[in-house]
Every structure is written in C-alpha cells, then in structure tokens.
C-alpha cells in the first residue's frame, strides 16, 4: 500500500509541489531567522570568545556584559595577582574612542589595550604584520573589516572606492597619533565597530584621563587549579566579580536576551514562519486528502483498514516533510554561504537543524492528524454516490 500512497501523493503534481513549498518555506524561516539570531547573539560575546588564553575574567561586580565597562583601580591588578592559584594576571583596557579620519570625519572605535610586556589579549589571527609590532612607536593593529570599511581612506578619485587602511597609515585617536603596524582578523562584534589594538599604556594615553582606567583583569590559573574554586577565591579576596570565559559569555548573552528586543523580534519571525508554514502545508495537505477522500473511500470499501490508511497518510506526510525540510535547510545553508563575506550575522549550529526538524515534524503531524481524522470518520458507502 506504500506504493499506492506515494503514487497518490505524487500523482497531483500541483498539490504535491504546493505542500513541499509550504514546508520548505516553514523550514527555511525556522532555520534562517534563528541562524541570523544566533549569529547576532554570538557577536555579542565574540570579543570574549576570541580571547582564548585567559581562564578567568575579573571585573567590577556591576558589569552586566562585555561592553558594559566599569573601570577598576590599577591596584586591583596586584590584588588579583596575589590570590593563590593565579599563574598570571594581566590588565586589559577596553573602551570606545573616536578616531579622526583623513577626511576630517570621526569614527568611534573599540580600542583594546594589551599588557605592554606580554601582549596577552591580542587578536586571534594576524593578516599583516606581527603582534610584537605593537611595541613600535604609536603602533596600533586594526581589524580587517574596519580597515576596509569604516576606517578606510577617502577614494582617490571622486565616486571611486574607499582605499583600505594599510600598514604605515596613520590615524588620530583622541588627537594623538597612531600608526597602523598590522592588520588582524577578528570575529565581528555586535556593534560592528572597528577594533583597534594597542598596548595598555598607550591605550590609557589615548583615552580621556580618568581616575580608574583598568577595564578587566585577565587571569590564567595554575595548572591543576579548579577554575570555579579560583573564581570564588578571587571574588572573596578582591571583592570583584570573577567569571570563567563561559560564564562571562553567558552573562553577556543573557543580558542581550533580557534587555534587548532581539529575541522577541526574531521569535516573532520564527513563530510567524512556523504558523504560516503550518497553515500552508496543513491546508494543502488537508485539501489533498479531501480531494482524495473518494479514493480512500474506495480503498476502505475494498477492505483496507483504518490503520493501513493511517500509515499511508503518515508516509505521505513524512515524505513531503523530509523533502520540505531538506530543501529549507539547504536554502538556509546556501543563504549562509552567499552571505559569508558580508556584514550579515549568520551562524548555523547543529541545534538549529534539530529545532527546525522538530518544527517541520510538528507541522507534518498536525497536517496528517487533521487528514487522518477525516479519513477515519469516512463512511465507505460514499463510493456508491455518483
């Protein structure tokens, strides 16, 4: 009977394609929108995840997320270094400073100041130049996206393309000269501002002078030290907040989830996609069953059991579900591939495949259930009506 079920399904090409299109659309929305959402949210903590070396981040207890910098006194660094189990503790400056461009306009940049001696906290990938070049006079490293876009120099000819910033070019950061000594690749941040790396001492020189300048203390634990124990010890000894990398990423993620409209906006898109997809696929599948009701009646009259008819309808639903899901996920993957070099945030983890798979399964079950109900209640005597 499976063969008959499949032939019935594919016999009406229009309806068949209609159901598949509905499910493809639902699957596409249920993967593409969350993939953008996950991509966007991942950017919120990309700076933390890019810094793989430290085990623990120490900061003011009132800090809510990575960009919510509440500076510490420099002396806090020494207090952290004094905690048992700390292998090393390095200062990190993180702040938003205005860079004056060659054409006189200003661009806000995310300036990162690294420990002068060790340069711990530097960019994950250097494309041009070396991290050590930061030790050169007024040296800064700029991220490639910023160099090509927001920090790029004006076009050489009117209407031409901006000229990317390159090694040897200079910037003005808070009226102080900065020379580009390297170009780095970093993960895009949530606000997509250019990232400028320099040494800690130079960073606090660029920044407007304040009583407290230290943004974070990056800590490496002694080998064999239990990280949760060490974070607790640092908190008790310094009165500061200390988080493992994962905890700080979660703190940032949760802040964006609770305090921005992003989850609601994407949630609405995904819910609408699910409802519209379910409505299209459910309605088309139901119509398909209604139109085939007489055929099901014939099969029933000839002695086909409800159980067999139920299996036939489930098989039809599973087949269109799988095809629709595959096409939707495939289109999302294509979308992600096409957008890989753009500003678009996109991340497609395996959990999204499970999520959209569950969504499409729900739609198919819903579509099959309303159809099955009709077929089970069907009176086979309808076959004798002309």
């Amino acid at each position: 009977m499976n063969h008959i079920a499949l032939k019935m399904l594919m016999g009406d090409r229009g309806k068949y394609l209609g159901i598949i299109m509905g499910l493809t659309f639902a699957s596409l929305i249920m993967t593409q929108q969350p993939a953008i959402f996950v991509g966007l949210m991942t950017r919120s903590f990309s700076f933390i995840s890019d810094l793989g070396l430290p085990d623990i981040w120490v900061m003011d207890p009132k800090v809510q997320f990575i960009d919510d910098v509440k500076p510490l006194q420099d002396t806090k660094l020494y207090r952290v270094r004094g905690v048992a189990g700390v292998k090393w503790a390095m200062p990190l400056y993180k702040g938003l400073l205005k860079a004056r461009m060659a054409d006189g306009t200003f661009q806000t940049c995310n300036v990162i100041g690294l420990d002068d001696a060790t340069l711990i906290g530097g960019p994950p990938i250097m494309l041009e130049g070396k991290l050590e070049d930061l030790r050169r006079s007024d040296g800064v490293i700029v991220d490639i996206d910023g160099a090509k876009d927001k920090l790029a120099k004006p076009p050489l000819t009117p209407g031409g393309k901006p000229v990317p910033l390159k090694i040897g070019d200079s910037l003005e950061l808070n009226d102080k000269r900065a020379i580009v000594v390297g170009i780095a690749k970093t993960t895009k941040t949530f606000q997509s501002q250019p990232v400028v790396y320099t040494t800690y001492s130079r960073a606090i020189r660029y920044a407007p002078r304040e009583r407290k300048m230290l943004s974070f203390v990056l800590v490496k634990a002694m080998p064999g030290t239990d990280i949760p124990t060490l974070t607790r010890r640092i908190q008790e000894a310094t009165g500061l907040a200390a988080y493992s990398q994962k905890e700080f990423m979660d703190l940032t993620w949760n802040y964006f989830m609770k305090n921005t409209g992003i989850p609601i906006n994407f949630g609405i898109s995904v819910t609408l996609g699910f409802i519209v997809g379910a409505a299209i696929a459910g309605q088309t599948f139901y119509n398909f069953t209604l139109e085939n009701l007489r055929q099901f009646g014939v099969l029933k009259a000839m002695g086909t059991s409800n159980w067999t008819l139920l299996r036939m309808i489930l098989l039809q639903a599973i087949l269109v579900g799988m095809i629709g899901y595959g096409l939707g996920v495939g289109l999302t993957a294509l979308f992600g591939y096409a957008m890989r070099n753009t500003i678009m945030a996109f991340k497609f983890p395996w959990q999204l495949l499970v999520f959209s798979g569950a969504g499409v399964t729900l739609i198919c079950i819903f579509a099959a259930l309303i159809s099955i109900r009709k077929v089970i209640k069907l009176e086979p005597a309808i076959v004798f009506k002309g």
Partner: protein, 236 residues
C-alpha cells in the same frame, strides 16, 4: 444461466433509516431478498427507493438498523470490524458507476489493488492484474492512466479490478449509466461472460432498462420495499 439453489445473500426484514435534519427517513423498510450463487440479480427502481442502501448493506459497508443480512452464511453486522474488512477484501468485488479508479495509478496498478489489500506482493499482484486485463480485452493498455482511457475502457478496468481477487460476490452500482448504449452492452456482455459463474453471484443496481435483459432475476424496489421479484423483464 441457471440459478443455483445455494444462497449467496440472504436478507431478512432488513431495516435502515437515516437521520435527515431531525427527521427519520426510512431507506429500507423490511427487505427480504435471496440471491443465489451463479445468479445475476438486478435491483431496479426509481431514485431514492433504497437500491444503493441495500447493496451497501449486502456489501458490508453499511450496517442495517434491524433484520439480518447473511452473505455466504456470515452475518456481517455481527462481525468485528477487522473481520468484516477481511471478509469484504476476500469475498466482494466492486464495480462503481463513476468507475472510481485511482487517477494516478495505471490500469495494471488499479487492478492489482484488491490483491495488495489481501496481502499479495506487488509484483505478483501486478502480474495477475495484467492477465485479468487481458481477459477484459485491455491487455495492451496496462500502462495507461485512467485519464488516457475511454469511459468503456475505464469500466472494463473497474471490472477487472472487481474480479482479480476471485471474489464470490460482485456488487455493481449503475455500471452502465455513464456509458453509451453500445458500450453499456459490451460491458454487460463482459460481466456476464467473465464475471458470472456457478461459484459467484452478481448484484447490479441499475436504472438502465436497456440492460434488464441480462438479469437472471430482477427485484423491483420502491420506497424502501421490494415490490416484486421476477425472472424475466417482461414480467416487470
């Protein structure tokens, strides 16, 4: 054909009523009827007289409210649903007015359905279906879809489908009403020649007076009752 004495169908005081918007409509008002093996019985009468309801009860796809209807000695109403389905699948063949072929299946596949319902493997079922199609003169049209066949050819496919699993009772609902006179006669010739033999009974519901002559007996129905059962069209 000489009617056999053993009864294929024995209906006694069969009553069936429908609920039509709160009103009870009596479709069968106490029907007594016997159909013998090897017999072609026609149920005739005006529209709404209960012919279709009666064959639905005989075929076991509708339960009567009262009375009994035994088919090959089995009272279908008191069978469990699963048993009834199996009984129907094995013993009854259907020919419908609107042919009711599955439009996306070709002729061979359509004819093989009753065998597949009875658990025969598809390849074997389709081989047998092709043979039966040959018997009804459509050996060369096995791969054709119903939409590629004429009305007469579709009805012949439907007859092949009704015969393929060797049922003992064939119920036909207006088998010629969608066909022209000549094709109707051809279909009836075929039914009588191929479908009817001593181990099988045929019940045909029809309005079509042109085919009354094919019947061994004719039961005339009116208003839920059988008026008359005759063995010749002249006696109607």
């Amino acid at each position: 054909m000489q009617a056999q004495t053993s009864a294929a169908v024995r209906c006694k005081s069969v009553v069936k009523t429908y609920d039509a918007g709160g009103d009870k409509v009596v479709a069968l008002g106490g029907i007594d009827l016997e159909i013998n093996m090897g017999e072609l019985m026609m149920l005739v009468g005006p529209s709404g007289c209960g012919k279709t309801t009666l064959i639905s009860v005989i075929a076991g796809i509708l339960d009567q409210d009262a009375g009994s209807c035994e088919v090959f000695g089995e009272d279908l109403m008191h069978m469990r649903s699963g048993q009834k389905l199996k009984f129907r699948a094995r013993n009854i063949g259907f020919v419908f007015q609107a042919f009711n072929l599955l439009p996306s299946l070709n002729a061979v596949e359509n004819v093989s359905i009753p065998l597949i319902i009875n658990g025969v493997k598809r390849q074997i079922a389709e081989k047998k279906a092709a043979k039966v199609l040959e018997q009804v003169g459509l050996g060369s049209r096995g791969k054709s879809l119903p939409s590629q066949l004429s009305g007469g050819q579709q009805q012949r496919v439907a007859i092949a489908r009704a015969l393929v699993h060797d049922p003992r009772l064939i119920v036909c609902d207006e088998p010629t009403s969608a066909l022209d006179h000549e094709t109707g006669h051809t279909v009836m010739d075929l039914l009588k020649e191929v479908a009817l033999h001593q181990d099988r009974a045929l019940v045909i519901v029809t309005h079509d007076a042109r085919i009354f002559g094919f019947a061994d007996r004719i039961a005339r129905m009116d208003d839920g009752h059988i008026d008359k059962v005759v063995d010749s069209v002249d006696k109607l």
